[in-house]
Homo-oligomer: 446 residues x 2
């Protein structure tokens, strides 16, 4: 049964207070699927079902923040505090950040002291850093424990820890000494010391590291969880593989949007309001209108050449677009390679030579195509103008396209800002200038 | 010390046969870092160091296929077979696929019977499917085992399995019955039966499923490993979280490249040859040259209007680019939303209305900007032509941009083929037509 049909049935069952039947319908589904279905039901009804499900906090954690907040209005304050208390620490903090001051004030006193402090601590980290991404629900061990003691300790920690497959070995000051995997633990003999079987100096990130770098480290070292430390080297949290995968996907979406000239859109496209969509798009569009005036100015400058050779206008969109297209390709390749770490800043110069060579080959191929069309439609001279212009336009577009992401990165901007629309506008302006300049030299005026 | 400097030192140490010193330099590094450094050393020397390292098969598995093949030439056949025998099943199969027939013939007889069959079986699956991605190194349990027996079984399987954190419960015919996590196992009492603690009917994918869908399932359900079954429901492999994350990243790169009008580039940008870069880019560029001829034809059709009002040419690039830019934005938003699953095919119609409204607002904003410039440079009538054209061009570009990914998807193409360059060319052609048509109506001829 699909989610919409199930939601309809649940709606009816809950309205008639037939909770047992409703629970029966969903109990075999996974938490994220139940969460999906709950968003299709009225918040009042959804809440009545949710509070009767054993894994309610896991399901609730999968809801989008705005749905969580909408549901929070329906909850009796006590149930709400209980539910939030049961949530994973990182999800709980995310929800807290989405509450307004009044809701926070209502919530905090109902939570346990330790949970309050945990929320305050996690909420203090800047967005998009390791600190904002990590959870404080991790398992720790001491170096002098033996394997038996360690397994007993993990059994105690298991209900609260997000993962017990990696346990972190810390000293009295919580400094991170090493990591032990559960795999190694269950293979070791009971009396071996943790100190002797742990991996010392494990891969770790700093709490202020960018979340994109955190995701890259998790991917590079194939980690289930990555420990996060503070300035003193003390363990303050872990980032789990699933959260890292979500970040990698979000960052790819962000780059993708920027490459199309759209500012960062937060949330699912279907849920984003028209006002926000307008705001995220209007800046680049209007900015580029003014950018494109440069093309217009070039044209104004060569009006007499155009008037005398109207056939030039016929080829104008084709020529300038070709430069923009080649530039978009180059920029796309560079932006993604910079994002995945395949290319770094110091590679720019060595890549420039290759880019120029590829662009020359591409430009020559396209010059042949356009020269033929030019000869049919105009004459040999027009054909020559077109071929020369095409080679120049494609080469300049490509070099701009490949270099701009590096320049933007150097200036502290996201290289993905080198979007297709931006590259197109810049290439267009230079393309128009080159084309009309070459035309005026070869064809003369009149 | 950075990887380049370390590689230089190792080069010298190995050439002087000081292997102990060389091993000392790398033994605390992670396998992927050692693999990175080995690629900076001559294959003959790299091999001499590699065969002396205890975790050589893990390190070797991290090398790029072309480096693996280059190194394979240096190996004595027996060491090579031993190394390949130790590799994880999925990496071993990848390497096998990159060998030529002669190398395969030399390798296969040196492997154990079971490994030969495993390679043949895994290599038979089509590229980019679950079958090509999965590994056969997983841990299985039987439903009637108790927890003690299960833990003992996992200890035996641990050295070969990629993960023992999820163990799969199968019947006599290898049908997948359920999954047990090691977390549940170590929390259960020793005499409990697996049948009673396993999760029945776990999330699974079919061996022919697209690898992109496999990655989405792993991400959605936050899995450490995803079981893969065949037509009969028998377990044939697992896909681990780290391989799913790599696939998600590769697929994002692929979409990103397509959005910039570049065909799929395999491998790291720095390593790709100029010939391949040319081939991956030339198709779209030449295709778009012919696409852009449509714009030219529109212009040819209205040559008399242009001749009489040369000021129109001034605004031509600006107007047509605006349509392309708005269209690129819409296409970018849709392509990524379709890729992440935020939007599905049946959402098209409901999103179309929103898109038209946003485009109207954007077009109106840009119309104000261009009308002002038009009035300064031309007159009130030109200003009117520009404002009307801008609204139409932006709306049509946006609707094309948002719809094309859906149309392509419906026709069985990757929606990401709706690249910025393609949208730009289509929007340009319609933009030129609209602009000159409106101009000819309002300004008349001459």
């Amino acid at each position: 049964m699909n989610h919409e049909a199930l939601a309809l049935m649940l709606n009816i069952a809950i309205e008639q207070q037939q909770f047992e039947q409703a629970i029966l319908q969903v109990q075999d589904l996974r938490p994220i699927d139940i969460a999906d279905i709950l968003t299709l039901i009225k918040p009042t009804l959804a809440w009545q079902l949710l509070e009767r499900l054993p894994n309610r906090s896991t399901i609730f954690a999968y809801l989008e923040p705005h749905t969580q907040v909408a549901m929070a209005h329906e909850f009796p304050r006590e149930s709400m505090a209980r539910l939030i208390g049961e949530m994973p620490a990182d999800e709980r903090t995310d929800l807290y950040k989405h509450l307004n001051q009044e809701q926070r004030d209502a919530l905090l006193p109902a939570l346990a002291q330790a949970q309050r402090e945990d929320i305050r601590r996690l909420a203090a980290y800047e967005e998009r850093t390791a600190g904002a991404l990590m959870t404080s629900d991790y398992a720790t061990l001491e170096a002098q424990m033996d394997v038996n003691e360690a397994l007993a300790a993990l059994r105690l920690e298991a209900p609260d820890a997000e993962t017990i497959y990696h346990a972190y070995v810390i000293d009295n000051e919580r400094k991170l000494l090493g990591v032990v995997s559960l795999r190694v633990l269950i293979l070791a003999s009971p009396e071996q010391l943790i100190h002797d079987i742990m991996v010392s100096g494990p891969v770790a990130c700093h709490v202020n590291d960018d979340q994109e770098d955190v995701a890259k480290v998790v991917a590079r070292y194939d980690l289930i969880a990555l420990p996060i430390v503070d300035d003193s080297g003390a363990l303050v949290g872990i980032v789990t593989h699933d959260d890292a995968m979500d970040v990698a996907s979000d960052e790819a979406t962000d780059d993708f949007h920027k490459s199309g000239g759209v500012s960062t859109v937060v949330g699912r496209l279907k849920d984003v309001s028209i006002r926000i969509l307008y705001r995220k798009r209007v800046f680049w569009l209007v900015f580029l209108v003014f950018g494109n005036l440069l093309s217009g100015l070039s044209i104004a400058n060569f009006e007499d050449v155009i008037a005398a050779n109207l056939v030039l206008v016929f080829f104008l969109p084709l020529l300038v677009d070709s430069g923009g297209n080649a530039g978009s390709q180059s920029a796309t390749l560079m932006v993604r390679a910079l994002a995945t770490g395949d290319v770094v800043m110091r590679d720019w110069f060595s890549l420039l030579g290759r880019e120029a060579l590829v662009a020359l080959m591409l430009g020559a191929t396209m010059a042949v195509a356009i020269a033929l069309i030019g000869y049919v439609r105009g004459d040999a001279l027009v054909s020559l103008v077109l071929a020369l212009s095409m080679i120049c336009v494609v080469m300049i577009g490509s070099v701009i396209g490949m270099s701009l992401p590096f320049v933007l990165n150097k200036l502290g901007f996201d290289p993905a800002t080198a979007s297709a629309p931006l590259i197109t506008s810049i290439s267009d302006a230079s393309g128009v200038l080159i084309y009309l300049f070459i035309a005026s030299r070869i064809l003369g005026i009149g």
